[in-house]
């Protein structure tokens, strides 16, 4: 009797990203793209600004994506998605999803105005921000998503980032959009479930995907998934959803692993002092208290 186990597919099989793309070995961002597109399917039009994703998508005459893509100016990810949505609706193609796909730089910083405006209008788009906590494509410069005390090329050891990571989720929640979620490439089935849920909701949907970057975070490429999981298990990147800006639900309990475990794997935190660590632990604790209260 053949006792060979049967192949299991923990997530949908269809691939909408082609091999041969130029992402770094171990790239978290391309995994985020792969998973999100599995959830959305081929009836998706994607908007990508200059970013790692833009480079990964490819240069003329090739594309790494098996969906239509529009490459647009840096600040305009959200409004470009809204423009495509408006055109599709007028052309009677309401069953095609419009996916705005930007990194943390293009979302927290230069793209924030357009994103806020789209959210205020409740434009019917899915906005996914893959967060690698710096401007990685241009060479690891800090963004407002970079955590406090982190090394980047514009916050060198002598002048590390001295302000906390911008709380984009609170900002989006203030707009009272129908669906917000945090997700991570460390937990693909959870990510896919959230994108599938977003798919069925009308209005502006915002998902933040934690995407470790071996090149920018200074870690060995094989640790990408481990680090993504540790970010959540230590409470640094909690996974949760917010509906209508008010109804919070936690996706996972807090595993309470020591934050040091997460920090020690990454060269970008090499300059962390004991004081910085205490500050971070306090911040994570307070955030968990808040989330637990909000989730009821």
């Amino acid at each position: 009797m053949d006792r060979t186990p049967q192949i299991k597919f923990p997530i949908p099989q269809e691939e909408l990203v082609f091999s041969g793309h130029t992402a770094c070995p171990g790239c978290g961002a391309v995994l985020a793209m792969r998973y999100a597109l599995k959830a959305l399917g081929p009836k998706t039009i994607m908007v990508i600004p200059p970013s790692c994703a833009g480079v990964i998508a490819g240069g003329f005459p090739v594309s790494a994506l098996n969906v239509p893509v529009l490459r647009i100016a840096f600040e305009t990810t959200a409004i470009s998605a809204s423009g495509i949505r408006a055109a599709l609706d007028m052309m009677g193609k309401k069953d095609i999803h419009v996916l705005a796909w930007a990194g943390d730089g293009g979302t927290f910083d230069i793209g924030l105005q357009a994103l806020s405006a789209a959210a205020e209008r409740n434009d019917n788009i899915i906005y996914i921000c893959y967060d690698n906590e710096a401007y990685m494509n241009t060479g690891i410069q800090r963004s407002s998503s970079t955590p406090e005390g982190t090394w980047t090329t514009t916050t060198p050891a002598s002048s590390l980032k001295d302000t906390p990571k911008k709380d984009i989720i609170r900002i989006m929640a203030a707009h009272k959009i129908p669906y917000i979620a945090t997700a991570s490439v460390g937990y693909p089935p959870d990510l896919i479930k959230k994108v599938e849920k977003a798919k069925g909701i009308y209005g502006t949907r915002f998902i933040l995907i934690y995407s470790p970057c071996p090149t920018g975070w200074r870690h060995s490429p094989e640790l990408t998934i481990q680090i993504a999981k540790l970010a959540t298990e230590t409470g640094v990147f909690p996974l949760y959803e917010i509906e209508d800006g008010e109804k919070y639900s936690l996706s996972r309990r807090h595993s309470k692993k020591p934050i040091k475990e997460y920090l020690s794997l990454q060269g970008r935190f090499r300059n962390f002092t004991e004081k910085d660590l205490k500050k971070m632990e306090e911040k994570v604790r307070k955030e968990w208290d808040y989330l637990t209260r909000m989730a009821g």
Binding site: I11, F18, G20, H21, T22, L31, F60, P221, E222
Partner: protein, 94 residues
């Protein structure tokens, strides 16, 4: 979409930079300095390596996995995530 790169004449170029071909002509396997080797005996077909590969280099054929060395960049995520230790990383010899 069509596979592979191509050079075109001025007339064959589209009006603006519109990509109609896939990246599959780019053999990113050339980037590797280490390669994963799969031991089918130890493999429990859990699918985690297939799920976590950023380059979709781990593919399925009938009831087993094979690694596409044409595209595998040797990042090592598969070896790290395999719960059965069925994937070993060896130095790429070329």
């Amino acid at each position: 979409m069509k596979k592979g790169y191509g050079t075109k004449s001025l007339e064959e170029l589209p009006l603006t930079a519109i990509s109609f071909m896939t990246t599959e002509g780019n053999e990113t396997g050339e980037w590797r300095s280490q390669r994963p080797v799969l031991d089918s005996e130890k493999c429990n077909r859990c699918g985690l390596c297939w799920m976590y590969c950023p380059d979709q280099a781990i593919r399925t054929r009938e009831n087993s996995y094979w690694i596409s060395y044409e595209y595998c960049k040797g990042c090592g995520i598969c070896a790290t995530e395999c719960p059965k230790g069925a994937i070993l990383l060896v130095v790429e010899e070329r």
